[in-house]
């Protein structure tokens, strides 16, 4: 039920591999803290890999939006990678699918930052 977030560096892009559920409570708090931590350390190119995330509630959607605004307000880019059909569904319902830049291919996503 809980979620894990692992970060790795690909060139100057920070990739966050998320696994689990992003829901009100531990999941969304962990995500918020990770974004704050990356922001504070000056990471301006953030790619969130949601391949292993099948469940996001409205609180989790709120955290994705906050992550997006936090990074872009600092002059950076926040993009999404490997969305499951269920997450695509959620982003379409909430009209956020057009707000985020979304990729299915990691190499293409990394290239898009430069």
């Amino acid at each position: 039920m809980s979620m894990t977030l692992t970060t790795r560096q690909v060139g100057d892009v920070t990739v966050i591999d998320a696994n689990g559920r992003i829901t009100l409570g531990e999941g969304s708090t962990a995500f918020r803290e990770k974004i704050r931590e990356l922001s504070a350390s000056g990471n301006k190119k953030v790619l969130l890999n949601l391949a292993e995330v099948n469940y996001i509630d409205s609180s989790g959607i709120g955290e994705l939006v906050s992550g997006f605004t936090t990074v872009t307000n600092q002059g950076g880019s926040f993009k999404l990678l490997n969305l499951t059909k269920r997450v695509v569904d959620l982003l379409q319902i909430t009209k956020l699918y057009t707000v985020f830049e979304v990729f299915d291919d990691e190499a293409a996503a990394i290239r898009s930052f430069n």
Binding site: G25, Y55, I61, G62, F68, T94, L96
Partner: protein, 144 residues
Amino acid sequence: MTQGSDSIHTDIRLDSKLESVDRGEELVLEAARGIGFDEDELHRIGIAVRESLVNAVTHGNRFHGRKKVHLRVLISPEQMTVEISDEGTGFTQAAVPDPLSSENLLKHSGRGLLMMQAFMDEFSVLPRDAEGTLIRMVKKRHPG
């Protein structure tokens, strides 16, 4: 609307804690599995119920130690009805900002009602005699 042939699967009062959200979601999913909803429908039902329970615990009862969230699940071979009520001060649906309007699109919160409406076949906010809010949601089975 509920029908005369519906039977009660769950009728429980939950504490106003986040742990109750997980418990309530599980109870509803157990009922939904029992009448044959598929995995995608279970996902949608789970999210809608979760959003409603979170609202009842956080906005309705505001985590109050003595206030309860009432969860009732009615099932029939054709549909499932979920009723979630709180003991809060109630709210007016029309006063809730539209999360799809451009000025609200990047707000952190305010998408719960939208997700409930999108994922269930029927959604209504009903006034209660005493206090609080009753949310009734219906999911129909679509054979085949």
